[in-house]
């Protein structure tokens, strides 16, 4: 019998717990048939972050490899809300998976404007509020560093939509569970964590930083243990539904997760994880993934 990989995360029901993270697959337009099919195999697809106005993003180089990770500084390059609705949403809404739009902004009003417009459009199953981008000068991670601003932004957006709201948090805080609590108090249904870790790399021979923007966000296997600890902090302190993000490259250990860096290495990778998970459950004789979510025990 095929094991059941369906999971429920807050109000979201996903056919499997593998979600492609924001920024790794664009918006779904211009996909080849093969990639389209692969995305339909995963549990959810989160768009690259949309802001109210188009953003050009940061100067290159925008990516550098570091031990077991990569640092990127794209800088939220995106076509803006208007063009997203006109040129990309018609494609995005065709996917047969949970269709989640990532929304970003420099100030609270921007989030409102975007959600107000998108809440009227069909073909969207939820929103992820990117309040934790480390690569923009205003807004970004500074929002998720303040419980007050986090609560304020989430609560204002909450009034505008009944769709599932995910708050994406940053690891760059003293106690992430405080921020998670603020997001839940504001009305977020789900917490996703972690966004990339602020980082830099230098080319000592040239006496230069490797990235055009000097600093960026670290992702990949290097940050998985950090993410895991923070997921535990949030779950034990708030009991909120959580989507884990950071360094997921194999099917083992997955509950509900977003896959980011791995998509850059293998465009068919996330779909492979979804398949791999089914095989893993079968091998371990687990009938339903829901049976093992939240069963981590403390050491005796």
């Amino acid at each position: 019998m095929k094991p059941d990989t369906k999971v429920k995360v807050g109000p979201l029901t996903l056919k499997n717990p593998v979600i492609v993270a924001s920024g790794t697959f664009g918006y779904g337009a211009e996909f080849s048939r093969e990639i389209f099919a692969n995305i339909n195999k995963v549990g959810g697809f989160i768009t690259k972050t949309i802001t109210l106005k188009p953003r050009r993003g940061n100067p290159p180089p925008r990516i550098v490899e570091t031990p077991c990770g990569i640092i990127n500084s794209i800088g939220l390059e995106n076509p803006g809300l208007e063009r997203f609705c006109a040129d990309y949403l018609p494609y995005f809404s065709r996917f047969k998976t949970a269709r989640i739009v990532s929304v970003g902004g420099e100030e609270p009003g921007e989030f409102n404007e975007i959600i107000k417009t998108l809440a009227r459009r069909k073909g969207i199953d939820g929103f992820e509020l990117n309040i934790s981008c480390p690569n923009i000068k205003k807004g970004g991670v500074s929002i998720a560093q303040s419980p007050d601003v986090t609560r304020q932004i989430v609560s204002r957006v909450r009034r505008l939509t009944g769709l599932p709201l995910i708050a994406k948090l940053s690891p760059k805080v003293t106690d992430i569970s405080v921020i998670a609590r603020a997001a839940i108090d504001g009305g977020a249904d789900i917490i996703s964590l972690i966004n990339t870790v602020s980082a830099m790399a230098v080319d000592w021979e040239r006496r230069r930083p490797c990235l055009g923007n000097i600093t960026g966000g670290l992702s990949g296997p290097a940050i998985k243990p950090i993410a895991l600890k923070m997921v535990r902090d949030v779950v034990t302190e708030t009991r909120a539904p959580v989507i884990g993000i950071g360094g997921i490259m194999t099917a083992e250990g997955a509950s509900a997760v977003q896959v980011g860096t791995f998509n850059l290495i293998d465009p068919a990778g996330a779909a492979g994880l979804a398949d791999g998970l089914t095989k893993l459950l079968k091998k371990r004789n687990i009938k339903s993934l829901r049976d093992i979510i939240g069963t981590l025990e403390n050491p005796v």
Binding site: G23, T24, F25, G26, E30, S32, E34, I35, K48, P54, R56, G57, P59, P60, P61, R62, I63, V64, E65, P67, C68, G69, I70, N72, I74, E77, P79, R83, D87, D203, R206, C210, G212, G220, P221, A222, M249, T261, N263, L264, I265, D266, P267, A268
Partner: protein
């Protein structure tokens, strides 16, 4: 786009710091366009996480791929340890390559940039009697693949920075000198020739400036630090003129619909919109080369 396995057939040094590798993909390559690249995942481990892009140097009759790589960093260092029979995982052929036409071709290569021009030269040799090639490098030992190039092209002008072979100086200086002479036989006007260039950022930018000043149709293969290789992550960007202003037909299709409104310039991805661009489409490029 699904990655496929490729087995190493040969991996041998052709210069002190340069190797030539032949790979046998699980599905033979039949259709690569000169200037396209393969994106190689070297290990399934976490150490060398990102893929590495390499121009397709050659495609053998049996559909094997050849690449030529200079040992510059951790990835290429690791590659030198790969033995025949070892497997890697490749994506490709990727990107928009060179466009071949009837104009008299002038090829300019900087260092390992010859790797990006060899397949082009091979295809051009089938339809052009006179092809002009200007390879340049720091020194004689970094002029890679010369024997291969000499088989395909009679008019070769060499420059090295230390003067150990050919004229002393940059290859772009040699190009300016070459263009000022009127001895390119079948060419009466500069619009009757086409420049193809591949090399480090400083060099392709210098060629772009020459192309614009002298109004010579020119195609440049650009380099940039790359992530996914298929246009999704938007890491490897270069500055191009706004699509509405860019008259060159080159990557018009690739850029259509991506114009960011009334901006005077926009980013294009080197991996998907390029790596080959018309010089007339490009804005001045910043030189952010790691190796100068």
């Amino acid at each position: 786009m699904k990655p496929i396995d490729a087995r190493i057939i040969r991996n041998k040094p052709i210069a002190p710091d340069c190797y030539r590798m032949q790979l046998k993909p699980s599905k033979p390559f039949k259709t690569a366009i000169p200037g396209q690249f393969v994106h190689i995942r070297l290990t399934k481990g976490y150490k060398l996480l990102l893929r590495r892009p390499f121009s397709i140097y050659n495609i053998t009759d049996s559909g094997n791929i050849e690449i030529v790589y200079q040992v510059l960093g951790k990835g290429t260092e690791f590659m030198t340890s790969l033995k025949p029979g070892n497997k890697v995982d490749i994506l490709g052929p990727l990107g928009n390559g060179f466009r071949i036409n009837n104009q008299t071709p002038v090829l300019v290569a900087g260092g390992v940039g010859v790797a990006g021009l060899h397949l082009l030269l091979k295809r051009l040799a089938k339809r052009h009697k006179d092809i002009y090639l200007l390879p340049g490098a720091r020194s004689k030992d970094k002029l890679y693949c010369l024997p291969d190039l000499k088989k395909l092209c009679q008019h070769i002008t060499i420059a090295t920075e230390d003067g150990s072979m050919g004229s002393k100086g940059l290859i772009t200086t040699a190009l300016s000198k070459f263009l000022s002479k009127s001895e390119i036989r079948p060419v009466r006007a500069k619009s009757e020739m086409v420049i193809y260039a591949c090399g480090p950022k400083g060099m392709t930018e210098a060629v772009r400036q020459i192309a614009i000043t002298q109004k010579i149709p020119t195609q440049l293969s650009l380099e940039e630090r790359m992530g996914c290789g298929i246009g999704f992550c938007r890491a490897c960007v270069c500055k191009v003129k706004n699509y509405a202003d860019a008259k060159a037909p080159a990557c018009a299709n690739a850029l259509a619909g991506r114009s960011a409104g009334k901006q005077d310039w926009q980013w294009a991805t080197v991996c998907e919109d390029g790596p080959v661009f018309e010089a007339s489409q490009l804005e001045p490029q910043m030189n952010t080369d790691r190796h100068g």
